[in-house]
């Protein structure tokens, strides 16, 4: 649906996007993740035909952004960063204005606008000037504006920036609802947002696309080997000896020791070799007659993944 090949953009001598390639399929919700200034906004501006790339090819449903920009724009709804709307216009006039410029036939216009008002729940503020609205409502008007022509693709640049926590939850829910029917690309530098809304993540850093996959895939890829925290009760020397012998364990260390009668509870951090380390460890404990009270697969958070990928 969206196909980007070797996209490169220079601002004078500054490289903003460096041969980025990716594809987005119909119905996907893709999150652009990256530090500020990584090139997310530039990429979005190119897809929406606001900016021309220095080189590379971008097609939206087989329409090229150079050759048929009007056709491309018809298929995209765009909400730029900071949600720039005309403060002196009232909400209803604004939506009608955008609907008119979106060439929605006059007969359908008010029906479409009313539908969007329903979807984004802005019925209470229709006759207020946009300048008087809270940020949460402004963002909703921005979303309504982006969807008024029922586009296949929505591009949202930091749709939750500057909102309070409740508003963030509302907007994310709204995006998830919309995402059931539409293809969405959204950018953010807030990580929980990605796990909350997206089914695929593209991590951009320093103008380059450095990783792509589902949030789970990225976590396991960045993690490398499995790390397990285990709580074992058994004779310390024997336990250590058995773990050293086991071929599925690469490394381990004692984190904590609690005395409990003759033997003590050992809390160990074990780094596996190969997969299913926890299962193998369980069987080892059973064979050796150790008591096992904890067996937990440690996972990197998306924050840690992001930090590893972008600082490497």
């Amino acid at each position: 649906m969206i196909k980007i090949e070797n996209l490169t953009k220079y601002y004078d001598a500054t490289l903003a996007v460096d041969s980025v390639s990716f594809e987005v399929q119909k119905g996907e919700v893709v999150g652009f993740l990256g530090p500020n200034g990584a090139g997310k906004t530039t990429t979005m501006r190119i897809i929406t035909c606001y900016l021309k790339p220095t080189s590379g090819k971008v097609t939206i449903e087989d329409f090229d952004i150079f050759e048929q920009p009007i056709e491309v724009r018809k298929r995209i709804g765009y909400l730029p960063e900071n949600c720039p709307l005309y403060p002196e216009m009232n909400v209803l006039d604004y939506l009608n204005y955008i609907a008119e410029l979106r060439q929605i036939p006059r007969a359908e216009r008010s029906k479409r606008v009313r539908e969007m008002i329903g979807v984004t729940s802005i019925g209470d503020v229709l006759h207020k000037d946009i300048g008087e609205l809270s940020k949460g409502y402004r963002q909703r008007v921005g979303l309504a504006q982006a969807m008024v022509h029922d586009p296949e693709i929505l591009i949202l640049d930091e749709p939750t920036s500057g909102l309070d926590p409740n508003q963030i939850i509302e907007i994310r829910q709204l995006i998830r609802d919309i995402g059931r029917e539409k293809t969405i690309i959204l950018s953010t530098h807030i990580l929980p947002e990605v796990s909350a809304t997206c089914n695929r993540v593209l991590i951009i850093n320093d103008a380059r696309l450095i990783a792509s996959g589902t949030p789970d895939e990225l976590v396991s890829r960045a993690q490398g080997a499995e790390v397990i925290t285990a709580g074992i009760k058994g004779p310390e020397e024997a336990v250590f000896e058995a773990l050293r012998q086991a071929d599925f364990i690469a490394e381990f260390r004692k984190v904590r020791e609690e005395l409990a009668g003759e033997q003590s509870w050992l809390t160990l951090e074990i780094q596996g070799q190969g997969d299913q380390t926890s299962e193998k460890l369980f069987h080892l404990a059973v064979r050796q007659g150790w008591t096992l009270r904890e067996l937990r697969l440690e996972r990197l958070s998306l924050e840690e993944v992001f930090a590893r990928l972008t600082t490497a």
Binding site: Y78, E88, I98, L101
Partner: protein
């Protein structure tokens, strides 16, 4: 064309959304009435030539302030990013904005109706000359607007756009004025006279409509609108 009208309608309404438009029109009316009536009773002539005579200079400051916000404000606020990612061509946006400012100029000129009314009441002016003078005002004002609109696209600061527009307009006005022409080599005088924004206006103020003058203004308007479309298409500001 539908897009041009939609944009023009929105921009025109935006003028009246803030009190600035009303203050602006009031200031304009007070200024031209004052300047005109200052000499009207002294001269004791029922014609409007002095009225049209100072228009190039009054417009010099007032017209760029009509056009200065049209692009600069949208650039500053970022609203341009939504506007220019709608499925409309840049030329439609440029024409829409120009049309809106042109209509505002028409409203401004219509509000000076009290001057011809007064002249008509006190004497018997040549109405052909009056209509011709107003036509000249419209053409000259539109040229200033096209220049101002172009200047507005060059900066995201309205004041910079305003000053830039005044600078370009002043430059194009004085090259045709007598005090400038004496500095110019003789063989270039006709050229500079032709290029000056004001020299074409004078004959219209006297009641002479020459197609060359009309064509001159139309080509100035066309040229600056063309430059404007180019600037907006390249959007070198992002």
């Amino acid at each position: 064309m539908r897009n041009v009208i939609a944009i023009a309608r929105k921009e025109f309404k935006s003028y009246f959304d803030s009190p600035i438009a009303y203050i602006f029109i009031t200031a304009f009316l007070l200024l031209v009435n004052f300047l005109y009536l200052w000499t009207f009773f002294v001269a004791g002539q029922a014609d409007m030539r002095p009225f049209f005579g100072f228009m190039p200079f009054v417009f010099l400051f007032l017209v760029p302030s009509i056009s200065m916000r049209l692009w600069a404000e949208e650039r500053k606020m970022g609203t341009l990013e939504i506007l220019l990612t709608l499925p409309i061509r840049e030329v439609d946006v440029v024409l829409g904005k120009f049309l809106a400012s042109f209509l505002f100029l028409v409203v401004m000129l219509l509000m000076t109706f009290n001057v011809p009314l007064l002249v008509g009441f006190l004497g018997d002016p040549d109405w052909g000359t009056v209509i011709c003078g107003y036509l000249g005002c419209l053409l000259l004002g539109s040229s200033y607007l096209a220049i101002g609109l172009f200047a507005s696209a060059l900066s995201e600061n309205q004041i910079v756009a305003f000053i830039l527009a005044i600078a370009i307009c002043t430059g194009m006005l004085i090259v045709g004025e007598a005090f400038f022409l004496i500095l110019v080599p003789d063989f270039l005088v006709p050229l500079f006279e032709y290029l000056g924004l004001g020299s074409h206006f004078e004959s219209m103020g006297r009641g002479v409509v020459d197609t060359r003058d009309v064509l001159y203004y139309l080509s100035i308007i066309g040229a600056f609108l063309y430059l404007n479309i180019n600037t907006v298409e390249h959007r070198s500001w992002v």
